[in-house]
């Protein structure tokens, strides 16, 4: 089930909240667990057993580590991680590996055509971080299997992140306060995410799908840039919209997740971009791969090796295809360049140049990310840079630009903190009449947007789920 759908918004979530708030505290986890399993089974009735198994392995591991005198800690950790990674590897990468082997050795092993279990990349990373943290003594092992399962399977974060670590919510898993304030903040946060997903991401995503599959054969330079601009907005508003919804629902249920995005498109360098984009993933790789490999406190060559390892993994985490690996390596190279050469120059750039530099490279990155077909990737880049005598501008560009100007403008504004700053200013005004006026406007806007969002979901023409490869 996706959050932005009629069944979730009007049936599943309200019913879950109602029961959750009605039952006494000791049953709240039970309600949450039942609804989470239902949520998962809605789309993946079979693979739910895979998730249960993966969860059980790490839970068991945690219990074994409880005994301070237990000798084979490292061995057991390796076993647990091997099981986790094998499942992820088998279900996500086997067909890709077979294709690579077939290509290299000229054989033709048949593909397995296994469907990717939804959310496997997210929950595998959560459950692995738990085992490692328990091994490191960072957190105490969870005694109650159902509490642990509730943490892994909790539906707000199950299928599209953020990757929540056990240490972030282990206390709230056993005791949390449910206040009206948190409920309200959470609800509004959820709505922000829902509006971002349905009204912006789906809309510009539709534009991207028109341009990227355009059958006229040739795109003008401007159309190609309009297309990739649309995709850049789609992936940001879709992904951060999901994170907003997750964080919002978490709050309504009494959990405080960490932020996952921090205005990535205002970054002043690629290094800065990755501090702001999908934070829970980049910190995961930092804490569980980069630092254990020695991080940056090693010889330069080893440091370079470490960065490449981390970024190849980050790339392939996003999907089993060459373009994701290239995309990861692309960022690996850019980060290395910044670290060892460019940073001292970038610091002296004027602000506008820092932003232009970053956005340009990030946009090129999205082109690599968007096409898993290398020849399509090449020809799209060709259109963007006018290689092959395609026109600079054509009526297709003007038509779609005028059709999507308003949404692109709103998306541009919401990619920066401007709206938040204005809102905070307005909410600080201490004047009864202005306050009331702002309140009325906000109520009308929120309700209006919810009604329009509902109208999109009822018409349900275009509502893609982007994370089917993650």
């Amino acid at each position: 089930m996706v959050f932005s759908s009629i069944p979730f918004l009007f049936f599943f979530f309200p019913l879950c909240l109602l029961l959750y708030y009605l039952v006494p505290f000791k049953f709240k986890n039970t309600i949450l667990l039942i609804f989470s399993l239902l949520f998962y089974a809605w789309g993946e009735p079979i693979y739910i057993f895979l998730m249960l198994f993966s969860t059980f392995v790490d839970y068991l591991n945690g219990r074994l580590f409880e005994n301070k005198k237990f000798k084979h800690k490292k061995l057991y950790l390796i076993i647990a991680l091997t099981i986790n990674l094998s499942l992820l590897g088998f279900f996500k990468y086997s067909d890709f590996l077979i294709e690579v082997i077939n290509g290299l050795f000229g054989v033709s092993i048949p593909l397995l055509h296994i469907g990717l279990p939804i959310g496997i990349s997210f929950y595998t990373f959560q459950t692995m971080s738990y085992s490692i943290d328990v091994y490191r003594g960072k957190v105490k092992p969870e005694k109650n299997f159902f509490a642990y399962l509730t943490y892994i399977s909790m539906f707000p974060q199950l299928i599209a992140g953020p990757i929540v670590r056990y240490e972030t919510i282990n206390q709230e898993l056993h005791y949390r306060e449910l206040t009206m304030d948190n409920f309200t903040t959470g609800l509004l946060r959820f709505m922000h995410g829902l509006f971002k997903k349905v009204l912006i991401a789906n809309n510009v995503g539709y534009l991207w799908s028109i341009i990227s599959t355009s059958t006229t054969g040739e795109l003008s330079v401007m159309t190609a840039w309009l297309g990739i601009l649309a995709f850049s907005f789609q992936i940001y508003f879709d992904f951060s919209g999901y994170s907003d919804m997750a964080i919002g629902m978490g709050k309504m249920l009494g959990f405080n997740y960490l932020e996952n995005f921090n205005y990535p498109y205002i970054a002043t360098s690629i290094t800065d971009f990755w501090r702001r984009w999908h934070i829970s993933l980049s910190t995961w790789f930092r804490d569980y791969v980069y630092i254990p490999l020695g991080g940056s406190r090693v010889k330069k060559m080893i440091n370079i090796r470490n960065i490449f390892i981390v970024w190849s993994l980050t790339g392939i985490w996003h999907g089993a295809a060459w373009n994701f690996i290239i995309w990861g390596m692309y960022y690996g190279i850019l980060l290395l360049l910044e670290k060892f050469i460019l940073n001292k120059y970038i610091e002296r750039f004027p602000n506008w140049l820092k932003h232009t530099y970053t956005l340009f490279l990030v946009t090129i990155g999205w082109v690599i990310f968007a096409f898993d077909d290398m020849s399509m990737l090449n020809s799209y880049l060709g259109f963007m840079f006018g290689i092959g005598m395609n026109p600079l501008i054509d009526s297709m560009f003007l038509y779609y630009f005028s059709n999507y100007f308003f949404i692109l403008l709103i998306a541009g504004i919401l990619s920066t903190p401007i709206y938040q700053i204005i809102k905070d200013r307005l909410l600080k005004i201490d004047n009864k009449r202005t306050e009331l006026l702002i309140f009325i406007i906000r109520t009308v806007v929120y309700l209006g947007l919810l009604i329009i969002t509902t109208s999109y979901l009822v018409a349900d023409t275009y509502n893609p789920f982007l994370y089917f490869r993650f």
């Binding site: 009007f10 609800l187 009526s395 306050e435 023409t461």
Partner: protein, 373 residues
């Protein structure tokens, strides 16, 4: 203070959700949607298999969206919002000027397969007089009314490409449709079909090419039978602020016809099924929408001339004109007629003419044509 305001907003949003849910639960469920011309998803039956494959939940999702309270109103809200933010096409339909809705036209993909299939068909029956009429749609005839900057793929290039490679007679009606669009309306505002006037002027072209004498316009009694036709494009775009279409019948009282809907074993004495005019899809009044095989007999024709018309729905308002010149008109829709058409023609020895009539949109998407035999 501010916190209290936030609470009121949260309550308002929650109320909307709860109210919508309750209205869904307690409202009467429609089985058929007139507006969308399709059956709504019924409440799915739970079986182990459908649950395992995820079909059950997918159907449940459609059920909830189909029966959502005030579904049509919500779809109209979406359209109005999109118009407000500057979109000029919605649901594959251009919101054009002068009250027109115009269906999009994508680059055709199957031209060569269609040419090959039609030529093969001709070769297996080459003693027969065969005609191909491909009708341009509103996007070509009303091109000047499209939103600014829209440059659709050129339909006439596509038509000419096919015509160059076809080995039998071809009939180009584009010029007559463009010329007559000045004085008569060639396409409905809100439906993807052509009007009865457009069918009449195209019939003149068919007659001219085959050296036959057409019936002059003045011999028909032209009767307006509906002024409230809101067709397929109206439903696709959900743009409800447009004026409905009029439907005209061209009645000719000199002849008596027998219309035999062969597969449903129903025989009528008129081309028009008037009860459709009370429903939404009023174009279905012409020959009762689509049937696999219809045989029309003109009892007043003394010769034995018979014709086969292989067609899409554009032919439905065109056939009444042709029926004035043949003893029998055999109407075959290959989307639904699954037997061999060559066998059918060989069995009916009086058939000496074949007409293919398609609009340029469906000729490419209709897979019946590529596999015709």
């Amino acid at each position: 203070m501010k916190k209290r305001y936030n609470k009121i907003i949260a309550v308002a949003l929650s109320l909307f959700v709860v109210l919508s849910t309750c209205l869904f639960l307690f409202s009467e469920k429609q089985i058929f949607s007139e507006n969308e011309n399709r059956y709504f998803q019924p409440f799915p039956k739970l079986t182990f298999n459908s649950l395992k494959k995820g079909e059950y939940t997918a159907k449940l999702q459609n059920y909830v969206a189909d029966h959502f309270y005030n579904r049509n109103q919500f779809m109209n809200i979406k359209t109005n919002y999109e118009k407000l933010i500057g979109k000029k096409d919605i649901g594959g339909v251009y919101l054009a000027q002068d009250n027109y809705l115009i269906e999009k036209y994508e680059r055709p993909l199957n031209s060569d397969a269609i040419i090959k299939s039609l030529n093969n068909f001709y070769h297996s029956l080459n003693y027969i007089n065969m005609n191909l009429m491909l009708v341009p749609t509103s996007i070509t005839i009303n091109q000047d009314k499209l939103p600014k900057l829209v440059k659709p793929f050129n339909q006439l290039d596509h038509m000419n490409y096919i015509y160059r490679h076809i080995k039998f007679n071809t009939i180009d009606v584009s010029q007559t449709l463009i010329d007559n669009n000045q004085n008569y309306q060639m396409f409905y505002y809100l439906d993807h079909h052509w009007t009865t006037y457009a069918a009449y002027f195209s019939y003149l072209e068919l007659m001219k090419q085959n050296l036959m004498e057409p019936i002059p316009l003045t011999d028909f009694e032209i009767k307006e039978v509906s002024s409230d036709f809101k067709g397929t494009l109206y439903s696709k775009s959900n743009d409800y602020n447009r004026n409905p279409d009029k439907i005209h019948l061209f009645l000719y009282d000199k002849y008596n016809y027998q219309v035999n809907y062969v597969s449903s074993k129903i025989i009528k004495d008129s081309f028009y099924e008037m009860e459709h005019l009370k429903k939404k899809d009023k174009y279905a009044a012409f020959l009762d929408n689509n049937h696999p095989l219809i045989v029309i007999t003109n009892q007043n024709i003394k010769t034995n001339l018979e014709i086969v018309i292989i067609k899409d729905s554009y032919a439905n308002n065109f056939i009444p004109f042709v029926a004035n010149h043949f003893k029998k008109v055999h109407v075959i829709d290959p989307r639904f007629y699954k037997l061999s058409i060559t066998d059918y023609i060989k069995e009916n020895k009086n058939i000496k003419d074949v007409l293919f009539l398609y609009n340029l949109n469906t000729i490419d998407s209709d897979n019946g044509i590529v596999t015709i035999n």
